[in-house]
Structure formats: C-alpha cells, structure tokens
Symmetry: C2
C-alpha cells in the first residue's frame, strides 16, 4: 500500500538512538524509511509521518508537523512510559498512536495503514465536497443570471398589460395573471375602441414561459391594430374578422404556437355584449341576480392552428349589474376535484360567491395554491355598475 521511501517518513525529535524496529520498517516498506527532523524536508508525496515520542519535550517539535491542511497521516509512537505524552499528542491533533509497536508488528502495520487510508479518504471527501460546493456556486450564479433575465422580461410583459382595476363606464375591469414561471403565456387586454366601445380579451397561448410570452406581445399588437383599423373603416366591428386575421398572422410566423381566446366588445350606450370564443376553455361565467351563474356558451376554433379557421360571433343583452368572469384553464389545476364536471360546477360556485369581488376571488385562488400551479392561472373580471 505504501510505496518505498517517499510515502512514509520516520521522525524522531529528540533522539535517533532508538529507531523503528527493523521488522516494522520491513513490514511497512521494503526499503529504508527516511528519517527527518523538520517538516521542510518532507517530500510532497508523503502520506504518513511516524513520529516517535521519547519524552514530553517532543510535543513542542510535534506542533510544526500538525499543520493544517496536511496531506499525510501523523501517527505517534512510543513505549508505555510515554503514554501520557502520547495522549497529549492525540489531543493536539495526531491521527493515531501506537504503544510499543515492536511488540506486535502486524497490528502496528494495520494501524499505520488504516491511518493513511483514513486520512486519504478524508482528503478525498473534502475535495469532492469542495468541488460540489464550487459547482453549486456556479449553478447559483447561472440561475441568478437567468432569473434576473426572466424578471426583466416579466417586467416588460407586465408593462404591456392594462391597468387593473380600470373603468370604462359603466363597465369595470380587473384581472390577475399568475405565471407558472416568470413569463406568462396567458394574456389580458382591454382598451377603448373609439369613444363608446370597449374591447377585452383573455388569451392563453399554448405552452408557457418565454416563447409563449413572446406570442402574447404579438397578440396585443395584432388585436389593437385590427381593432383600430376596423373602427376606422366604420360600421360594425367584426370580432370574427379580427380573430381570422390574427389566425393568419400567427400561422405566418411559422412558430407552431397557437392560442385560445375569448374576445368581447361592449358599448357604453347599450347593454349589448358581442363576443367570439376561439376555443377558449373554461367558458366565461356570467352572473346576475335574475339568472344566477351560467357558462357563456359559443364555441370556435383555436387561433393559429388551422389556415381556414373562421369564427362565429355571438351576442346577448347584459343585466345592468352583470358580473362576467373569465378564467384560463390553469384554474383547473388549482381546483382539486376529481372530474372535469365537478371542477366546472365548482368554478360556477366560485364565480357566484365572488361576483363583483375580484380581490376576494384572487385571494381564494391564492389559498387554493395558485402560486405553485404548474400552469399559468389567470382571471379577468368584468362587471356592470
């Protein structure tokens, strides 16, 4: 286990008269064990220092051998008369002791070998630990860098979202988007179209994170542009036409990203709501005192998936004190029910319970664990006052 000469050295501080027994030296190494007086003479490759204690004074010179970190095991040896001093050497940091090594050479060799392998194992595990710690630091730095980057991206995305709450009399808007990562594939927008109309939507881009967030930004630009253009052309704005155009734009990007969207348009002078549903699910919940809560039916194709997609427009008259709540499908990750039917039932109840109380609904979903959901979770509340 020990290679001759270099791996082990013999140290006798005060006397060289009584070296290790020839049997022990022979057992340790086939060649002569080098004898040293000072650690400065120590070869780099030394793995074992056998330090002979012949009297209490040897403790002083022992100190210089007990430096940390050292790459060798230090074993103190001596006869029975030195047991007190050997104990002090152990307390000072020596790895092992050997009492009368000559009396049992094979035991002595075993102790020396174990001291070496223990020390080496300790050094090895320290090195592994240090490497792991270094890797850890590198990982944390990389992670911080990416997190900062994502947070900056999130800031941009949030800036592109509308104010909340916001009033376009008599319609009141409020929303909340809770991204599963930093960036969200869910998006909400509402804005005036001319003096009397207000457009709003909640969209859910396939996937989540940065790639989906990019699409939400494009969506915002597209929808606002087409709404403005349609308004300028005069006549009734066609929501179906807007979705068809966004559908084409998305397909043209060739990104393989599609989205679901509920797009609505209301007038401040009438109680009419017109809407298109581009495969958005769950359906929005409409609540008022007269009819209670119900899902706003009306289906359509997802946007950005089929080249020939067309959309159907629906309309209805709203109760003066209506409460319309839109959700992204992430809510179903949060509502802990076993079947979709039960989840939909639960969502109706939640929409009823928190109708007109957006903040309380957000709090409710937060308590349900929205922050830790694997998907983006979004709510958009629109109410008449």
């Amino acid at each position: 286990m020990l290679t001759p000469l270099m791996d082990a050295v013999y140290v006798s501080a005060s006397s060289a008269d009584k070296p290790l027994s020839p049997e022990l030296v022979e057992a340790l190494s086939p060649a002569v064990l080098p004898e040293l007086r000072s650690p400065t003479e120590l070869p780099q490759s030394t793995r074992l220092v056998i330090y002979e204690i012949t009297g209490p004074n040897d403790l002083f010179s022992l100190e210089s051998w007990l430096v940390a970190p050292r790459l060798y095991a230090l074993v103190v040896i001596g006869n029975e008369d030195q047991s007190e001093t050997l104990m002090k050497a152990l307390e000072a940091g020596a790895d092992e002791y050997l009492l009368n090594p000559e009396q049992n050479t094979s035991l002595a060799v075993l102790v020396l070998q174990r001291a070496v392998s223990r020390k080496q194992a300790l050094l090895q595990s320290q090195q592994t630990y240090d490497e792991l710690e270094k890797l850890n630091l590198e990982l944390m730095t990389s992670l911080d860098l990416l997190k900062q980057d994502q947070q900056a991206g999130r800031y941009v995305q949030q800036k592109m979202l509308p104010d909340s709450p916001w009033v376009f009399h008599p319609h009141n808007f409020a929303y909340m988007i809770c991204p599963s990562l930093y960036l969200s594939g869910d998006f909400v927008d509402y804005f005036p179209v001319g003096k009397h109309q207000v457009m709003f939507y909640l969209a859910d881009v396939s996937g989540h994170g940065a790639s989906s967030a990019f699409i939400t930004l494009l969506l915002r630009v597209y929808i606002r542009r087409y709404a403005k253009r349609a308004f300028k052309l005069g006549g009734q704005i066609s929501l179906a036409d807007i979705l068809a155009r966004v559908n084409s734009e998305l397909l043209e990007t060739g990104l393989g990203k599609h989205l679901t969207i509920f797009l609505g348009l209301m007038d401040s002078r009438s109680r009419q709501l017109r809407y298109c549903n581009g495969a958005h699910f769950p359906y929005p919940v409409l609540f008022d005192e007269e009819q209670g809560a119900r899902y706003l039916k009306g289906k359509g194709m997802p946007v950005g998936l089929f080249a020939d997609a067309t959309y159907e427009e629906f309309e209805l008259l709203l109760h003066p004190r209506y409460h319309l709540t839109l959700f992204s499908d992430g809510v179903f990750e949060v509502i802990k029910k076993s079947s979709l039917v039960e989840k939909e039932k639960c969502l109706l109840e939640i929409a009823t319970q928190f109708a007109g109380r957006h903040d309380a609904m957000v709090k409710h979903f937060t308590e349900l664990g929205m922050q830790d959901a694997p998907d983006d979770v979004s709510l958009l509340a629109v109410s008449g006052s």
Copy 2:
C-alpha cells in the same frame, strides 16, 4: 461527552464473566454501562458500542453490529491474546481497537471518545454532503427549466429573423446574431417593400436577454407595418418618418427601453441607398474597389428615448460591387484593442479583409471569442453583385 446509559453500550458476545473494569466504566459514564447481546436491543441514541473480543468466534456475532449505515462508533476491546482477532475485527470494519483497556484507563477513554467524535464528524459531513448534493440537484432542475424556457424563447426569436443568406437581386443579404444569453437584444430584418425596393436594418436594444428580445419582436412588427403603410400611401418612403413613429411607439410602452438602429432602403432598379442612423454605433462600413473601406457617416438620435426625436435621411450611390457591413457594438467587446480609435481602425480592416465573405467574417469573430462576449454580437452583410 457521553451521556449515561444511552449513549454507549457494552457488548460481550460469548462471555459476561469479564466485563469492563469498573474504573473504565466509571470514566466513561457515571452510571452502569448497559450490556447487550443483540443489535436489536440497541437504543436509537447509541453513539458507541464497546465490543469485547474473548475469542475468534466472537467475530461471527460482531458482523451483525457492523451494519452500514450505522450511527455509532464500534470499538473492539480485548487482551493481548486476542490481538489477532482484534486485527480481523478492524479489517472487518470496526472503527477502533483497545488492547488491555484496564491497563491505561485514561488512554482508553480518550480512544473511545475520539472514536465517537470521529464517527459523528463523519456522519455530519456525510449529511452536509447529502444536503449539498440535494441542493445541487434542485439547482440543476431549476436551471434546466429556465434554460429550456429560454431556448424555446430563442426559437421564437430566431423564427422571427429573416432567412440568411437571402437575395433581392442585385442585393445579397446575410447576417449572424450571437446572443450573450439565449435571447438577444440585437435584431436584424430585411424584406421587400413592393416589387423593387428592399428595406433592411440592424438594431441593438438597450440591455440584453428576454426583456430586450421582447422589444426586438415589437420592433419587427412596427417597422414592417410602417413600411407597408408608407408604401401603400405611394410616393417616396420616408425612413425618417418610420423611425419617428417607432420612437413614439416605444415611448408609449413606458418600458424605459430604447434602441439604436441603422435603417436602409435600396432599389433594385437604381444604385441608390437611402438610410437613417438612429444613434447606431459602430457606423456601417462600406467597401468597394474604387474607394476602399470607410465608415458610413450620418448621425441621429436613439429610438425610444426622446419624445421629440427627429431623424435625418442620407443617401448615396453605391458601387455595383459594394460591400456594406453592419455591426452591433458587441464587436468592440471582441476586438482586443486598448482604445476605441484602434478598435475602429481594426474593424475597417476586418470589413476590408472579409468583404463579400460573410461566413469567413463570422469564423473570424468566432475565433476572436464572440461566443463568450458579455454583450450580443451581430453582423449584417449586404453586397451588390
């Protein structure tokens, strides 16, 4: 160091006739050391097992005490007659041995205490290591998640970039963007405007990463929209007007993000180049055989920083075999010269050396260490043929 009764136990496999000497027991613990025959009797809190060897057969029952992982140190004791067996016990995994512990009680106590503290330190360091390893795994998982997210985002951004190389006869386009992270704040676009004109630009959004990448996507939509709109209106397209509009759009977002841009327009039927420089630096390098390489002067304000920014349009006649090279300022991170003057001189030389050889120029910048630059590095080469 050891609390009475629970922390240490005494095991004698084959004989209870010769227990530990009262002095040793007294020294270890003020109370009676419990004596056990089987590991199943061992209290959870045991930190030390003193195992007495009275003959070779004791090795068999020792095995059940040497289970891994164990939370206690195991020290074998015996008299000189048992030294062979003690050695075998050590080889089998015992932590320490004690020969004739009664002969030197204080040394024996020290050895036992050291065995306990060594074992505890080992367990502690193993636990720390395990925790570090677990943290490491968590970090790697988080990092992977973010990296995947950024890569997906990068895919989207790349899809929004034009084909390279691309020909709009007689103009040839090729570009390369090397992001410092996954997502880039540098952006390049070129596209036909009507049948005979081609618009191109290289832009550098302040900052880098996701937040800047978002802006590049908006920029693409804005520029293409305004170019299309200007073309539809007929007459000469005003590049200055396009930049002024993008300037307003960017300011309206309130994101505090601005950009520098070199925007150019060429006609396939003439040799005219018209351009605006929105504070883009370095200036593009124009090279042809007649005049050699020179910077294309013409300054302007950055885009998205000042509400009242206006832009000046420049024009010139291109040599039929011109080579126009645009760089983002990241190239200056790559060119290792001490002063900006020297860097600009070097860039002229590079543009000359690699005029018309885009791939070779990319290779050159790669060799200079472009991949590891702290900023995004971009090149756009436009050549006449």
